[in-house]
């Protein structure tokens, strides 16, 4: 667009990223999250050792031992390596569960809101039922059915996420549906599918997105609780929750084996909480101009 036209006066509303970066706390959260993601993605290249290679002689070496800045776990594996791969598995677990549960939940929520006459009642009653099973119970049942393991945990967490997502999506869709542009689009003669896809969904996404980041943290926490109950990743997979729950047996003797993964979980959850908060602020219409 030419700068010669007389339109230059109104400053462009800064983009989402710019608004995020303006607040130092938000920028910090964003950078922190990106660092975690990068560390997880690059784990195979960053890790100093093979994640599966053990050396029983080094079992439980405390942090700061020669060549082992974070010490070694009970199998004598380098904690740095284990943490990098654990981060990777945990994030992957969180992502796939939130994503899978999110997609299904959002879809159901939209359908419930859009076809309020026929679908709202049935769908939301079903969601109520699902919601009334604590995630831990779902996880237990699924582990009992499919055997413990990362995929069971993901499935359980996804199922537990569906009703929450559906509620958020429905709520946000109901608000959006009351807006005139939806009515205008209908008046144009648009089909329902196009209406949902082009008008409803994009405008509900910010609320859903914010919730997703917050849910992500919860999912990681729930996953670690499931691991604690012995339903998590199977050896030799490194996953933070499983590492922490395994390490707790050495808590009094080699605390680093449990404490370091716990700090890892804490870091992820914290990062996503902060990011979610920052996003919420950045997307809050009242803070726009």
């Amino acid at each position: 667009m030419s700068a010669t036209t007389a339109e230059a006066e109104a400053p462009r509303r800064p983009g989402l990223l710019a608004r995020l970066l303006r607040d130092p706390a938000a920028a910090g959260a964003l950078i922190f999250t990106l660092l975690l993601l990068a560390a997880a993605a690059l784990a195979p290249w960053l890790a100093p050792t093979d994640p599966l290679d053990n050396n029983l002689a080094l079992s439980m070496q405390p942090p700061g031992s020669p060549g082992l800045p974070l010490g070694a776990d009970a199998q004598g594996r380098d904690m740095v390596t284990r943490m990098l791969f654990g981060l990777r598995a945990s994030l992957l677990m969180g992502f796939s569960a939130t994503l899978a549960g999110g997609v299904v939940g959002v879809l159901l929520g939209f359908l419930a809101a859009f076809y309020q006459r026929w679908l709202d009642g049935p769908i939301m009653r079903l969601m109520d039922m699902m919601l009334s099973f604590p995630a831990i119970l779902v996880g237990l049942a699924i582990a009992a059915i499919f055997g413990p393991g990362l995929s069971s945990v993901v499935l359980a967490l996804a199922i537990a996420t569906v009703p929450l997502m559906a509620r958020i999506a429905r709520g946000s869709a109901l608000v959006t549906m009351r807006l005139d542009y939806i009515e205008a689009a209908r008046a144009i003669g648009m089909t329902d599918a196009r209406l949902i896809w082009r008008h409803l969904a994009p405008n509900c996404l910010s609320a859903i997105f914010v919730f997703t980041t917050l849910r992500f943290g919860q999912v990681i926490l729930l996953g670690s609780a499931l691991s604690f109950l012995g339903l998590g990743a199977q050896p030799p997979t490194a996953e933070l929750g499983a590492m922490a729950s395994e390490g707790r047996n050495f808590l009094f003797f080699a605390p680093h084996i449990a404490v370091i993964p716990c700090i890892g979980i804490f870091a992820i959850v914290l990062a996503f909480n902060l990011l979610g908060d920052a996003l919420r602020d950045a997307l809050d219409p009242r803070l726009r101009f």
Binding site: T5, E9, R13, Y181, A184, A187, R198
Partner: protein
């Protein structure tokens, strides 16, 4: 003379709410010819927006029928209804909620064309430019997002979108109520210009009788889901034949301190549409109410050609004193004229800000 463009007959819509049924629209009939403006006025909650939505079948009526260009749309199937929508479009009160914040202005205006499969990408782009020009915006603004525009400009974008499919009828649901006075005048002028150029018909919904008087050819006054009085504008303002219309007229404060104290407030509040009063709906607030009003629903009578009123005493009401006052003071009028004279060309693209 062919059938009216829009014809509404016995239209009703009831909402089930907790505690009962709201009779939002309760048997409304009117007709609107090509190129004509029919204004619908009434207090908040009397069912104006509901009527507008019913007329476009954005919601399904509880009873009654709507004919557009002679076709009864109440029974049309999905596809046929979608095609019918090219005939009639709508613009809304809230300039902020009526545009999808995630579509550029160009996309928003082009969308009706895409939906109806009109033209290819290039011709649509040209049409968007044309439409923007028509409503006084610049072509380069097509790439901008709604939040970069002021309320008045957004309302213009909404109008451009409605015009895209070349409808014969536009339903304006309080298009200027949310705008500042100075901007409101711009939009009112634009609507009138467009009507003159494109031969549009408007169903113009408003609560401000002064604006209505400026815009409309005919006026329908609604109260609690019913039309109380319909008449030609001149006839209605000069000789209102329904007490409610009179009450409305005398409640409007005039921008003229010389007329101070002429405002005569009506007692009481609008009753809840949950259980409208029996008989004449207005009897609870009517200064002329008699026993019959409390029991018998007044029929719709034609008191003069084209002037109908739903009041038992429509013909018996005393004449009103002429509303036309002194108008502007001479000094003010002269200055106004000067102002208008020196204004840049009318309805030029207002690049505002």
């Amino acid at each position: 003379m062919s059938a009216p463009l829009l014809e509404v007959e016995g239209l009703a819509r009831h909402w089930a709410v907790k505690g009962g049924t709201v009779r939002a629209v309760d048997g409304v009939s009117f007709a609107l010819g090509r190129g004509e403006t029919l204004a619908l006025v009434g207090e908040s909650g009397c069912g104006k927006s509901t009527t507008a939505r019913l007329a476009l079948r954005l919601i399904e009526p509880t009873a009654g029928r709507v004919r557009i260009d002679g076709t009864d749309i109440t029974g049309l199937s999905g596809g046929a209804m979608r095609r019918m929508r090219r005939q009639a479009q709508i613009i809304f009160q809230d300039p902020y909620a009526s545009l999808n914040p995630r579509l550029t202005v160009g996309e928003a205006i082009a969308e009706p064309l895409i939906v109806h499969g009109i033209g290819d990408a290039a011709s649509r782009a040209a049409r968007v430019r044309e439409l923007l020009g028509l409503v006084g915006l610049a072509a380069w603004q097509a790439g901008r997002f709604p939040h970069e525009f002021s309320g008045g400009q957004r309302q213009r974008i909404g109008i451009a979108r409605a015009l895209a499919v070349q409808p014969a009828l536009i339903i304006c649901d309080e298009p200027v109520s949310a705008l500042d006075v100075s901007i409101q005048a711009q939009v009112v002028n634009l609507l009138k210009d467009l009507q003159a150029r494109l031969g549009l018909a408007y169903l113009f919904i408003a609560h401000d009788l002064a604006v209505v008087k400026h815009m409309a050819d005919r006026v329908a006054v609604m109260y609690l889901g019913r039309i109380m009085e319909v008449a030609d504008k001149r006839s209605l303002f000069a000789n209102p034949r329904h007490p409610y219309t009179r009450a409305l007229l005398s409640a409007i404060p005039q921008p003229d301190p010389r007329r101070r104290g002429m405002v005569k407030p009506l007692g009481g509040d609008v009753p809840s549409p949950l259980n409208p009063p029996p008989g004449c709906r207005f009897h609870t607030r009517c200064p002329h109410a008699e026993a019959i009003c409390r029991e018998v629903e007044p029929p719709d009578v034609e008191v003069a050609p084209g002037h109908r009123s739903a009041c038992h005493f429509a013909a018996a009401l005393p004449p009103v004193e002429a509303l036309a006052g002194e108008g502007l003071s001479p000094i003010a009028a002269r200055r106004l004229a000067l102002f208008a004279e020196r204004k840049p060309t009318q309805s030029a693209p207002s690049t505002l800000t």
